[in-house]
């Protein structure tokens, strides 16, 4: 049987938790990483198994093991779903601390700063987790333990220097492509709904519907990581592809870990004014706040929005 390694001094306190996790897998259906890649080894349970493997010495520390523990958006959907009260993200954070001390580092989902940084320091102020600092001679430095991967820095960076290396389908380019794909392949398409991963969207999680059932779909839900990341270009993109409307779903006030909902509110308000100025009914861009887990409310909001769009008709 196994020998525990002493090198994981932060992770060590979770030894009991790692045994108490019953490995039921209830944590993985909603994880955006798993949903994107479909690999179980990207799911939260896999990270717990990795942490156990590292702590027990069954698995040696390696780039790929570190990569698994560094890849997480800290949306905490897994914790809400856990059957056994495991504080998954706290385990990941401690594992990250140990791995960093051993010389492993990201990139995971955490942001990194590239060469073309203009040193404007906007991202420092925008980061809700104080993960960014400016160091003389090194420029902008990201603390991978503090960074929670919300990606707000990426959207505020005017030079395109802040990046998430592994975005698991949540970066602007991917989302724009998926919005365009839905709008152009469905004659019935009317709306794009951007939802943060907290929204427990009412769609199927890990399976696909028969083609006959999706042919007449009027809206597509696209999961971004945080409402705070939704910027102008992305929100307007569906309109270019003849969308009748765009909906943004974020957490209720005070409920967002990154205060991204407040940013989203400002952005949407601002864009509604823009729409008005070009004589497009601002009703076509809606923001709704959905309490975590309330799929029914979310579906009702979408249905109301689509009904409203049906009254408004296409944009002429």
């Amino acid at each position: 049987m196994k020998n525990k390694t002493k090198a994981f001094k932060h992770l060590e306190k979770w030894e009991g938790t790692l045994a108490n996790c019953i490995r039921c897998g209830y944590c993985f259906e909603h994880c955006p990483l798993f949903k994107y890649t479909g690999w179980e080894s990207d799911a939260p349970r896999a990270k717990i198994i990795t942490a156990f493997g590292l702590l027990s010495g069954e698995m040696g520390p390696s780039e790929s093991a570190a990569h698994k523990l560094f890849s997480c958006f800290y949306c905490k959907r897994c914790e809400a779903a856990c059957s056994s009260g495991v504080k998954l993200t706290e385990v990941f954070t401690d594992a990250k601390k140990d791995l960093i001390e051993m010389g492993f580092n990201g990139p995971g989902t955490t942001s990194t700063t590239q060469m073309n940084c203009a040193r404007c320091l906007i991202c420092l102020g925008a980061c809700p987790h104080e993960a960014r600092s400016h160091e003389k001679g090194r420029g902008i430095v990201v603390d991978p333990v503090k960074c929670k991967g919300c990606g707000i820095c990426i959207e505020v960076c005017p030079a395109g220097a802040a990046k998430i290396q592994n975005s698991f389908g949540t970066n602007r380019k991917d989302l724009m492509e998926r919005a365009s794909l839905f709008m152009t392949t469905h004659t019935s398409a009317k709306a794009i709904v951007f939802a943060c991963n907290w929204s427990y969207y009412p769609d199927l999680q890990a399976s696909a519907l028969p083609d006959a059932e999706t042919r007449d779909k009027s809206y597509e839900i696209l999961v971004n990581m945080c409402g705070g990341r939704l910027e102008r270009q992305l929100l307007m993109a569906p309109f270019i592809h003849n969308a009748w409307g765009v909906m943004v779903a974020v957490c209720p006030d005070e409920k967002c870990e990154h205060n991204g909902n407040l940013r989203a509110k400002e952005r949407v308000e601002d864009l509604r004014n823009t729409l008005k100025s070009i004589r497009i009914d601002p009703e076509r861009l809606q923001l709704v706040q959905i309490p975590a887990g309330d799929k029914t409310k979310f579906q009702a909001e979408i249905d109301t929005f689509v009904d409203r769009l049906n009254v408004l008709g296409p944009i002429r």
Binding site: M1, K2, K4, E15, G16, A19, N20, C21, I22, R23, C24, G25, Y26, F28, E29, G38, W39, E40, S41, A46, I49, T50, F52, G53, L55, S56, E58, M59, S62, S64, A65, K68, A81, C82, S83, S84, G85, P202, L204, Q205, A206, S207, A208, L209, P210, A212, E213
Partner: protein, 477 residues
């Protein structure tokens, strides 16, 4: 370990659908059981043709192949005891057809149970076997394990909802089994042979399933009992009376105390509680069933009997049962809730005695065991809470489990009601099925002469489950 022709596998499924990194392999070496073993590669086929090609290669090269759905099996069914290729079937996740006129649906094996139900709901239909793990369990895994759940007392297990399927055999041949009709008497029911085969006979690549209408009315009730015997007698009388519950669940005092301790629910700490439910399209019919069950509970000294149609009230009644799982995990930081001897079935009349026996054995070996389950279908669950670091606790668990199964068989019960055999329950399974094991191995040999599909499971599993694989816990020596 044999060398695997990774290039050949890559050519079959594509670069994006194969994993060979040790950390990925380590992860895919576990499921929800106590076991762990390393596979040699993980391959994710997207089409039937790819499954066929992988099996042709593996059959030629004599490499084990283990199908994997959600990896929520509780007895090590997907743990690769002899290494080999894990076939991650979650890549085949399409619902192919919902045919309302002919009342069936066709799905790929990686479709998740909850997703199928979400897709059926707008049509007023549901797929009833629904295990508690329905949020991650796949149809392939449910078929291979003959999964069932709280409503199986009325609607049956997976076996009852499978009309037909397409299966890839170990030599790569594709066969169509069963039919798309409600009844079929055209020879051997080979599709039913696949049900419960735990991935040892063929890889299910498509299933044709029946579904039923979602009932208009649901009413749930609860009754408390001061002795386990009274609760057990009530279960037996309800089932014998011809009542048709859509759920009949028992929770014992250890379970109630665990829920109170960890969740502060303030449930009355009685010897046992029964939760019963009836459903239907006509309210009077549901009333009739509920009243029948209430009267029987009363007759057997049930107390605080109460039932409601209100969804909020129903949630409240079910909360204790629903909270049981997390409550057991959180029971004590030093005790892990392990899936061992966790789903035997006994005749209704033995339900109470079985629960009593579990308590007696737990006391004897100084471990915590609770008794609860889908008593309406004869299924009794237990969890063993133990300090998994202590070797002596594993020894105690081993002895306790042997005694539990000895009792189960002595009253004509069966080793597994719903979670399957895999590795953890092989010992009792082999004793229970001693006279048919030879037949079983003849079937296995005929279908899989090279023994490549999930070898080392069921009748081939090592007798001693503790040493069958590495345990997935750190155990002090």
């Amino acid at each position: 370990m044999k060398t695997i022709d990774e290039e050949r596998l890559r050519a079959i499924v594509g670069e994006a659908n194969i994993k060979t990194d040790p950390s990925d392999l380590y992860i895919y070496g576990s499921d929800s059981s106590v076991h762990h073993a390393m596979p040699w590669a993980v391959v994710r086929p997207k089409t039937t043709a790819q499954v066929q090609a992988v099996l042709r290669y593996a059959n030629e090269a004599l490499i084990p192949v283990i199908a994997r759905g959600g990896g929520s099996g509780m007895c090590g069914q997907t743990v690769p005891v002899m290494g080999g290729i894990i076939l991650d079937m979650k890549g085949m996740n399409k619902i192919l057809e919902i045919n309302l006129a002919d009342v069936y649906c066709r799905v790929e094996p990686g479709v998740v149970d909850d997703d199928l139900n979400l897709a059926l709901k707008p049509h007023g239909m549901f797929f009833p076997p629904t295990p508690a793990s329905s949020r991650i369990a796949t149809i392939g895994g449910e078929i291979a394990n003959n999964a069932s759940g709280v409503r199986s007392v009325k609607y049956g297990a997976t076996r009852d909802a499978v009309l037909g399927m397409k299966v890839v055999l170990p030599n790569g041949d594709l066969v169509n089994l069963g039919a798309r009709t409600r009844v079929e008497a055209s020879g051997y029911q080979l599709h039913k042979l696949m049900v419960g085969s735990e991935g040892t006979l063929g890889i299910v690549v498509e299933a044709t399933l029946s579904f039923v209408p979602i009932p208009e009315f649901r009413c749930m009730g609860i009754a408390n009992f001061n002795t386990l015997k009274d609760a057990g007698d009530a279960i037996s009388s309800i089932m014998a009376s011809g009542a048709i519950p859509s759920m009949l669940e028992l929770v014992d005092d250890v379970a109630i105390k665990a829920v109170n301790k960890t969740m502060n629910l303030g449930l009355k700490e009685v010897a046992a509680a029964l939760i019963f439910e009836a459903d239907g399209m006509v309210r009077e019919a549901v009333d009739y069933e509920i009243n029948k069950m209430k009267v029987i509970c009363q007759k057997h000294n049930g107390e605080d009997i109460y039932a409601s149609y209100d969804p909020k009230e129903r949630d409240k009644i079910f909360l204790g049962r629903k909270s049981l799982f997390p409550a057991l995990s959180k029971y004590d930081d030093n005790l892990a809730s392990t899936s061992l001897a966790d789903d035997m079935a006994v005749p209704y009349s033995k339900m109470a005695e079985m629960a009593g026996k579990i308590h007696e054995i737990a006391d004897k070996y100084n471990i915590v065991m609770t008794a609860y389950g889908h008593c309406g279908s004869g299924c009794m669950h237990t969890k063993i809470l133990m300090d998994t670091k202590r070797k002596d606790q594993w020894e105690s668990a081993r002895k306790a489990i042997t005694e539990v199964y000895d009792y189960v068989r002595s009253v004509n019960g069966t080793t597994s009601a719903e979670h399957g055999i895999g590795l953890s329950k092989a010992e009792s399974f082999k004793i229970e099925k001693a006279d048919s094991l030879h037949l079983l191995s003849l079937i296995k040999k005929a279908v899989d002469p090279n023994n490549i599909l999930n070898p080392g499971k069921l009748s081939q599993a090592p007798e001693d489950w503790v040493t069958a694989t590495n345990l997935r816990y750190s155990v002090n020596s």
